[in-house]
């Protein structure tokens, strides 16, 4: 990760920027990360619980944070901006959620309590859409002149 940032520094013009966009860990507990499971009904989001990522992913996020901290310490970049935002993925039904988790997010599980909660919400609002809401961070690092 540090090597990738050193390469970015080499190919950037002086004053150029790195935009580092990636999943953010739970602000309350930096050793875990939850993805919110929601249903959207009548223009509103209703929470149905959480999906949890494995520690393998968390290690990657910690490694990326450390790499950014290191290049800032080295004086190669300065942190110009950092912000959090929610990013949602929509699913047609629960089967699609399961397929997506199996193929795309192999380290993420849908706990039974969340599954039951989603099923309850979908029985109540049959045309509601299911979504996974991920907390993301954008860091903007500027290469020194």
């Amino acid at each position: 990760m540090v090597d990738a940032l050193h390469e970015a520094h080499r190919i950037l013009r002086p004053g150029g920027v790195v935009a580092d966009l990636r999943p953010e860990r739970d602000p309350g507990n930096r050793r875990r990360r939850y993805i919110r499971a929601e249903v959207r009904w009548d223009g509103q989001w209703v929470s149905a619980g959480a999906m949890r990522e494995t520690t393998e992913y968390i290690s990657d996020y910690i490694g990326a944070d450390r790499a950014v901290a290191r290049v800032l310490r080295e004086g190669l970049f300065s942190l110009e901006r950092s912000e959090l935002f929610w990013l949602r993925t929509y699913f047609r039904d629960l089967q699609t959620v399961d397929r997506h988790l199996a193929l795309e997010r192999t380290g993420t599980s849908l706990p039974e309590t969340t599954r039951r909660s989603l099923q309850r919400q979908l029985r109540r609002y049959p045309s509601a859409r299911i979504a996974a809401a991920d907390l993301f961070r954008l860091n903007v690092l500027r290469k020194d002149q």
Binding site: M1, D3, A4, L5, E7, A8, R10, I11, L12, R13, P14, G16, V17, V18, A19, D20, L21, R22, P23, A64, A67, V68, R81, E83, F85, W86, L87, R88, T89, Y90, F91, R92, D93, T96, R99, H100, L103, E104, F136, L138, V140
Partner: protein
């Protein structure tokens, strides 16, 4: 990310809006590191002057090229390469984007 029926990724375009608001993409020479099949590369194509997507997986790069229209290929191109040894010279870009790839 694999395209899957019944899945819509970020239809609100939150990712693109945050990038356009907070990173100086307009008129820039942009490198998208770990671009995969070029999903985000294509979404932000309107702002930068030119975009290069790079990914170590040749299959992903082939998909990215296939998804890119002939018209767009004037400004957007894709190359196979690793983030730790980028196949570009010094000072070649204004913005380097790591999207889920750092």
């Amino acid at each position: 990310m694999i395209r899957m029926r019944g899945v819509r990724f970020d239809p609100e375009r939150a990712e693109v809006r945050v990038l356009l608001r907070s990173a100086p993409l307009r008129g820039a020479r942009l490198l998208d590191v770990g671009c995969g099949d070029g999903r985000l590369t294509r979404r932000i194509k309107g702002a930068p002057r030119s975009v290069v997507g790079v990914d170590p997986d040749p299959d992903q790069i082939a998909r990215a090229r296939a998804f890119t229209s002939r018209l767009l290929r004037r400004r957007v191109r894709y190359e196979v390469g690793a983030a730790e040894a980028l196949p570009f010279g010094r000072h070649s870009f204004d913005v380097v984007l790591f999207s889920w790839s750092l």
